[in-house]
């Protein structure tokens, strides 16, 4: 049997020459469901149904160590108004707890919750407490649940080098926290949001945060990783300097030093290096206008009341874009990619998956109309 990873490796040469067509990129079923609240019963039932619709969770997690990359972007002291962070820009803790519970039921051997929180090497549990979450609710949702802050070396003695099959757009490989190689199945558990640079942030863009700031952060060492992470990932955004020399360096320093060029490509490189086995996008409650309250445009809390899941992140994110009222086939110059290349298009060209909705089987909620029209709000804001 050929796995998606094998397929990607084989297709890279073709993708690099630009000959790969969307029609050839992989496709897998994506499921969409209504979920109006974060009450545990509703979230568990909704996720259970979604997982059934995409072929069951058991085949993905049974007997495996599962890494779940959640989205905790920005400092936990930053709220949109007075709203809890899970209601706006963090993956909601009930969503995480429900998924962990179902993974446990499906036979996961170990479940490790992963994130590289803003500028700290503190345990993820402590970061969650600052967000006003109860980490025990997640730890107790299934047997053998762990947290790991992946913004630094963590519990290992060395970073894990993960190469990009075929070489990558920007980076040929990355030095990452050990948890990204330790896991047999990798889950990207994102929030349904727009993004100030990348247009949208969904399951693909969520993986931007797997990079440790000790190597890729503003305060990273020139020669090697710092012990503690400092600052954000401006190195990747601007390309003003290279990551620590101990890590793989950029392939071509003459490429544009623009975030709209670099961020989508680095995301695709990361997802090729650490393929996503399951994408879950939390759109029960979220925000418009940016990926966090600090956005330059008017930002608002909204409740689309939807969850999307799939085994192919490009397919899943394409369906999410449709759910948001955007055209997943859009590219630079067209909303939401006015100032950036489309991460989805680049991922499709790299052979990760198709963004062509005609080729993606969608289960659950019909997609005739957007579940929540982010695109219309975006147009209104920009009038």
């Amino acid at each position: 049997m050929i796995t998606r990873r094998d397929w990607i490796c084989g297709a890279v040469g073709v993708a690099g020459s630009g000959l790969l067509r969307a029609v050839e990129a992989p496709t897998a079923r994506v499921a969409v469901t209504r979920c109006r609240t974060y009450t545990p019963a509703e979230v568990v039932a909704s996720l259970d149904q979604l997982f059934d619709q995409i072929g069951g969770l058991r085949r993905i997690v049974k007997g495996k160590t599962v890494g779940v990359k959640i989205n905790l972007t920005g400092a936990p002291s930053y709220r949109l108004g007075h709203l809890p962070l899970g209601d706006t820009h963090y993956t909601h803790p009930q969503m995480i707890g429900a998924a962990v519970h179902l993974m446990g039921k499906a036979g996961a051997r170990r479940i490790r919750i992963l994130e590289s929180p803003w500028s700290t090497a503190d345990p993820l549990e402590e970061y969650m407490l600052l967000a006003n979450w109860e980490p025990l609710d997640i730890l107790n949702a299934a047997p053998n649940v762990e947290f790991e802050n992946t913004n630094y070396l963590g519990r290992s003695k060395t970073y894990s080098r993960m190469m990009v099959p075929g070489g990558g757009y920007i980076f040929p490989g990355f030095d990452l926290n050990h948890s990204y190689t330790d896991c047999d199945a990798f889950v990207s558990m994102a929030k349904l949001k727009e993004h100030g640079v990348a247009g949208v942030t969904l399951s693909l863009k969520n993986c931007f945060g797997i990079t440790p700031a000790t190597i890729y952060g503003t305060g990273s060492g020139e020669d090697g990783p710092t012990d503690l992470p400092r600052g954000g990932r401006q190195i990747i955004h601007s390309g003003a300097r290279q990551p620590s020399r101990s890590a793989p360096q950029e392939k071509d320093l003459t490429t544009p030093r623009q975030a709209g060029y670099r961020v989508p490509r680095v995301v695709v490189d990361l997802v090729k290096a650490r393929p996503i086995d399951l994408a879950i996008v939390d759109g029960v409650k979220t925000m418009t206008g940016a990926e966090g309250p600090w956005g330059r445009e008017v930002v608002s809390a909204v409740a689309p009341g939807v969850i999307v899941a799939g085994t192919n992140p490009v397919n899943t994110d394409s369906v999410c874009m449709k759910v948001m009222g955007f055209d997943p086939m859009a590219d630079r110059g067209t909303p939401p990619f006015e100032n950036a290349d489309s991460t989805l298009a680049l991922a499709e060209r790299a052979g990760i998956g198709t963004r062509d909705l005609r080729r993606i089987e969608v289960a659950g909620m019909p997609l005739k109309e957007p579940a929540f029209n982010f695109a219309a709000l975006r147009r209104q804001r920009r009038l």
């Binding site: 002291s77 930053y78 709220r79 007075h82 803003w118 500028s119 700290t120 402590e126 600052l130 600052g231």
Partner: protein, 401 residues
């Protein structure tokens, strides 16, 4: 108040009439004699001297506010290592002086400093000292002094706000409340212990932790009351008495964080562990001894906070911006007072604070002394969340169970 040298017109003393200013520090003996004559002639109840009164401990402080970027850059607040605004506050100095000189009144003496000579900085300075239990010595920069003397609008506005704030703190007395603390810091805070000891206090304050200053000489069982953690930052080994005191604290469920001077800890290794500490279980508590002597107070404080755990935070802020807080409570926590100082010029909007404890009502008091406002209060497990209205420089929230 330090009387501006340029204010030689006796009629300017009328600015003090019915004001909370009751002590004038004059530049020299001549100024003292002149001012005494003039204040007596005007029947102003003001003491004039070149030095502070008996029983006063003067703290030389910083001009409070958020640290700004270097000249030439856009004026913006500089962030600390955690991304939070870097605040210069004298609060920790006041708490240290109170602990080292119990019973004495603490005055904070800080000269106005560029580039933060805003109206708001004067009010924040006064609030900063007062909220921590000290008194602020009003000092005016030359431009402002000239503006007030000349009666111009900005100068008059600053003066009015300063007096308003001064009256607020002179009149309000929340009696029977004790400062709440989670972490105690033991040191003599002097000599070779001065830098790490004092910087530890400064950084705990910057992390908005509620802490207690525990001078080596006076630290006793009573000073451990309510603490989760004791941070022993003195460079000399503890005396047998201190070792016994802190071992008892650990046995009863506390956490002791110290350096190698404490000696190798005994007991089973704690399950959670720590990369820079040998953490052992002793009795109901834990002891965490640094694997090496920590000379970086930032790391020391961050580690102590994480070892303690944010689970026990007395206060937790969202959108607080440049804020410092002091929490006092009555025995049994039936009533608490949360004092908040905001150092930014703009009003802090959408600020939320979580206060540990079960309270049912929250009333907000502000410097303008308008009627107290009810604050929306969201009960949580073991805490309440307060959604604050936009507030400038200072607010006090009275919480009742």
């Amino acid at each position: 108040m330090r009387w501006p040298a340029a204010w030689r017109d006796p009629s300017l003393l009328e600015l003090l009439r019915d004001s909370p200013v009751n002590y004038l520090l004059a530049a020299d003996g001549d100024a003292v004699r002149r001012l005494r004559t003039d204040t007596e002639a005007r029947e102003l109840k003001v003491t004039v001297a070149t030095d502070p009164a008996e029983g006063v401990e003067v703290v030389k402080g910083d001009w409070p506010g958020t640290k700004m970027a270097a000249p030439g850059e856009n004026e913006r607040a500089v962030a600390g290592p955690t991304g939070e605004p870097w605040i210069d506050s004298n609060g920790w100095r006041v708490l240290l002086a109170k602990a080292l000189h119990p019973g004495r009144e603490i005055w904070v003496d800080a000269a106005p400093a560029e580039p933060r000579l805003y109206l708001e900085s004067y009010v924040a300075g006064l609030a900063d000292a007062s909220a921590h239990g000290g008194r602020w010595v009003i000092q005016l920069d030359e431009k402002l002094a000239a503006g007030i003397a000349g009666g111009n609008a900005p100068g008059t506005a600053v003066w009015k706000r300063l007096l308003e704030a001064g009256r607020f703190f002179a009149d309000w007395r929340w009696s029977g409340l004790h400062e709440q603390a989670l972490i105690g810091v033991i040191s003599d805070f002097a000599g070779k212990n001065e830098f790490v000891g004092q910087e530890t206090l400064n950084l705990l304050a910057r992390a908005n932790q509620q802490y207690r200053v525990m001078p080596l000489e006076s630290a006793g069982a009573e000073s451990l009351s309510g603490l989760k953690t004791v941070l022993y930052v003195a460079q000399d080994p503890p005396t047998p008495e201190m070792r016994g005191l802190l071992s008892g604290f650990v046995q009863q469920g506390g956490l002791l964080v110290g350096g190698p001077v404490w000696g190798a800890p005994a007991g089973p290794v704690d399950r959670d562990g720590h990369p820079r500490y040998d953490v052992r279980r002793q009795g109901k508590g834990r002891i965490a001894i640094g694997l090496k002597a920590e000379d970086d107070p930032y790391l020391l404080v961050q580690d102590a906070i994480v070892l303690t755990s944010h689970r026990y935070d007395l206060l937790r802020f969202w959108n607080g911006g440049a804020v410092r807080a002091c929490l006092g409570a009555a025995p049994g926590r039936q009533r608490a007072l949360l004092q908040l100082v905001f150092y930014a010029n703009a009003r802090a909007g959408d600020a939320t604070v979580r206060v540990a404890g079960a309270y049912r009502t929250a009333r907000l008091y502000t410097l303008d002394r308008t009627a107290a406002k009810e604050v929306p209060l969201l009960p949580e497990k073991g805490a309440v969340e307060l959604h604050l209205p936009a507030v400038a420089q200072y607010a006090a929230v009275q919480l009742d169970a």
